[in-house]
């Protein structure tokens, strides 16, 4: 003890070991800071969204109950009253996009995943997978353009000219259609990962009993990978809910409690863009209303992501 002390005090003047240890500690602390930074981002999101949203709800012109239950969203109406701040039309619009795009993307994404995982040869897969991922890499503003310049005109020609069903120029279906295409690769890629994680022995057991490839895929692989597939579905839908530019461009700017996909609607995200594009000043009721809508949107996607993560975690526990 005494020996150690005297030795260390003797060399402590310049001890390369200690300098090195000190540097190591500093670097470890900096790296730890980088690691923890992501938590700060989450806190920042919550604080900035909810502080402004609370400011919005503290105004006398609005209240939380009519916000959540009201069926009129007229933030620009001359009479500013709680009746004009009901978020349900925006949520209805968002859910309509999510349901339609989901019903396009879920079967197609799952089909693509089964094909890539079970049917395609390695060579075909190495060509098809990057091509599919290309779809996920295309900017959303491009999908918006495509909806407006290609999907809507076709819809009008087929439904309006041939069948006489009125289609508005801005309509929910066109937007939902391109959002559906956009989330196919997300669903396909996550489901495929889940299916490839299913042990080979399960498939071979089924083949040994004389099952066809169809039977192996649908009765063995898909059920075994089900939690991964469900989590892929949830992530895809949550992506559709948060999708902004395609729905802003193609679905219109009229908040409406409608169930007709050929009508113009407005989603939560499209409303936020509309207000921001028009330069609402900080502290004004419109400038604050986007944070109330944003907080609603964030909460919805956050809950979905948590659910999907917990489902995925359970699935990992089975095979690892």
């Amino acid at each position: 003890m005494l020996k150690n002390l005297s030795k260390s005090s003797f060399i402590s003047f310049y001890n390369p070991q200690r300098v090195r240890n000190f540097r190591e500690r500093i670097i470890a602390i900096i790296l730890f800071g980088c690691g923890v930074f992501s938590i700060l981002v989450t806190i920042g999101i919550i604080v900035s969204l909810f502080s402004e949203a609370i400011g919005f709800f503290l105004r006398p012109e609005v209240n939380l109950i009519t916000f959540l239950t009201g069926t009129n969203w007229r933030p620009l109406a001359s009479q500013v009253s709680p009746e004009n701040f009901g978020v349900r039309p925006l949520i209805r619009g968002t859910l309509m996009i999510a349901v339609i795009s989901g019903s396009i993307a879920l079967p197609l994404g799952l089909g693509s995943a089964i094909f890539l995982s079970e049917y395609a040869s390695d060579r075909l897969r190495s060509v098809l997978k990057p091509l599919l991922e290309l779809l996920a890499g295309i900017p959303t503003v491009v999908y918006g353009y495509f909806a407006l310049s290609f999907v809507t005109p076709i819809l009008k020609r087929v439904l309006e000219d041939q069948l006489g069903i009125r289609v508005s120029f801005f309509n929910a279906f066109s937007a939902a259609f391109v959002v559906g295409i956009m989330i196919i690769p997300i669903i396909a890629s996550i489901s495929e990962d889940a299916m490839r994680a299913v042990p080979r022995s399960l498939r071979e057991g089924a083949y040994a009993l004389g099952a066809t490839k169809f039977e192996v895929s649908t009765k063995v692989v898909v059920p075994a990978a089900l939690s991964g597939i469900i989590s892929a579905f949830i992530i895809g839908i949550s992506r559709a809910i948060g999708e902004t530019m395609a729905v802003t461009i193609a679905a219109g700017a009229t908040p409406r409690m409608t169930l007709n996909p050929l009508d113009g609607i407005q989603t939560m995200t499209a409303f936020i863009v509309q207000v921001s594009f028009g330069d609402a000043p900080a502290g004004s009721i419109n400038g604050q209303s986007i944070f109330a809508v944003g907080a609603t949107l964030f909460t919805m996607t956050f809950v979905m992501n948590i659910i999907s993560a917990s489902i995925l975690k359970r699935f990992r526990e089975v095979y690892e």
């Binding site: 470890a28 992501s38 920042g44 094909f115 290309l134 779809l135 495509f146 948060g242 902004t244 900080a282």
Partner: protein, 337 residues
């Protein structure tokens, strides 16, 4: 006699069963192929549609002029410049923090609840809609919670000189160095936009860098430790050089996502009409996707259909180039262990 009958019924049943199942197999095969082909067909149609509408409008004016009231003169010079600068700044901001976090999580982090929480948190951030990051950027970077507005408690406390107006705030030179100008709050500047984008791509950068670092085999590290070096020395001289191509690839792919993002920058306050090239990072700016969106919203077909498509073509070419470089880097420096 009886036995023969049973056998013949059985084989008949068997044959029917087999042919029914084979038919199902074939139908299923076709359905699967169609579902893949549908997505690819849409990709093809999308690219052809845009090329047909826009190709003739990709002309010198698109790169030399600003937006104009005459479609034949309109270009997106300021948007191209804005996109390039914002992307470079985004890379500058997100690279150190993203790679640092990846090094921490792969090399340093102990197995405990905090680490689990950080992991969960990063995955969650990756699923947050991009528009939410725009609102975060607006409040934190653009306005800085209003701390630097006229007559705030903070400004009064420290007697900070505040310029009023839309581009106002506290302007000073850090350490009195002439090129280190700082504006607080960051307002609607390229710095604010790039910081917003950095937060947006941070989860992707971290996830990609971690994969690259994880791909370095443990034996390399153990070789370093056997020579008596420290953790940081091993990381800096052995792990990072080997993982670097992978990290760079992930970085380029993340930036190629950022370059197509529109919504966060609109929310953050990027402008739609900027008739000049930015002189400093504190200038107002616009980016290519916002210019495209702006053209789509105009009533005339020249803007709405053709110029928008021409802008999209430029954007897609940039994206393909960035992805091509990333794939090239990955192939060139790929090491098989």
């Amino acid at each position: 006699m009886e036995a023969e009958k049973i056998i013949s019924i059985d084989t008949k049943h068997y044959k029917e069963n087999i042919s029914r199942r084979n038919r199902a197999e074939k139908i299923f095969n076709v359905i699967l192929l169609l579902s893949v082909l549908f997505a690819l067909l849409m990709l093809t149609v999308l690219i052809i549609d845009i090329a047909v509408e826009g190709f003739a409008w990709v002309r010198p004016e698109l790169f030399e002029n600003y937006h104009s009231r005459k479609p034949e003169n309109a270009g997106m010079k300021s948007a191209i410049a804005g996109s390039i600068i914002v992307i470079l700044l985004t890379g500058l901001f997100s690279f150190p923090v993203g790679v640092g976090a990846a090094i921490y999580l792969e090399e340093y982090a102990p197995k405990n609840r905090l680490t689990d929480f950080i992991n969960l948190n990063i995955n969650n951030l990756a699923g947050v809609p991009s528009i939410v990051y725009g609102m975060l950027g607006l409040v934190v970077f653009g306005r800085m919670f209003g701390i630097f507005s006229n007559n705030s408690w903070f400004v009064n406390l420290f007697n900070i000189p505040i310029e009023s107006g839309a581009t106002g705030g506290w302007k000073f030179f850090l350490f009195d160095i002439p090129w280190l100008e700082i504006h607080l709050p960051f307002g609607r500047s390229m710095v604010a936009g790039a910081l917003t984008m950095s937060l947006l791509i941070l989860p992707v950068v971290i996830i990609a860098s971690r994969e690259a670092i994880r791909a370095v085999p443990p034996s390399i590290r153990e070789g370093g430790y056997a020579l008596g070096t420290t953790k940081w020395h091993v990381t800096r001289t052995l792990v990072l050089p080997i993982a670097f191509p992978g990290i760079l690839t992930g970085m380029i792919l993340s930036l190629s996502r950022a370059i197509g993002e529109t919504a966060p920058l609109i929310i953050m306050g990027a402008f739609t009409y900027v008739p000049f090239l930015p002189r400093s990072v504190w200038d107002r700016f616009t980016v290519i996707p916002i210019q495209i969106y702006n053209w789509i919203t105009l009533p005339q077909a020249e803007y709405r259909v053709h110029l928008a498509a021409a802008g999209i073509l430029v954007l897609l070419v940039i994206l393909f180039l960035m992805n091509g470089i990333a794939i090239y880097l990955r192939k060139k420096f790929e090491i098989k262990w």
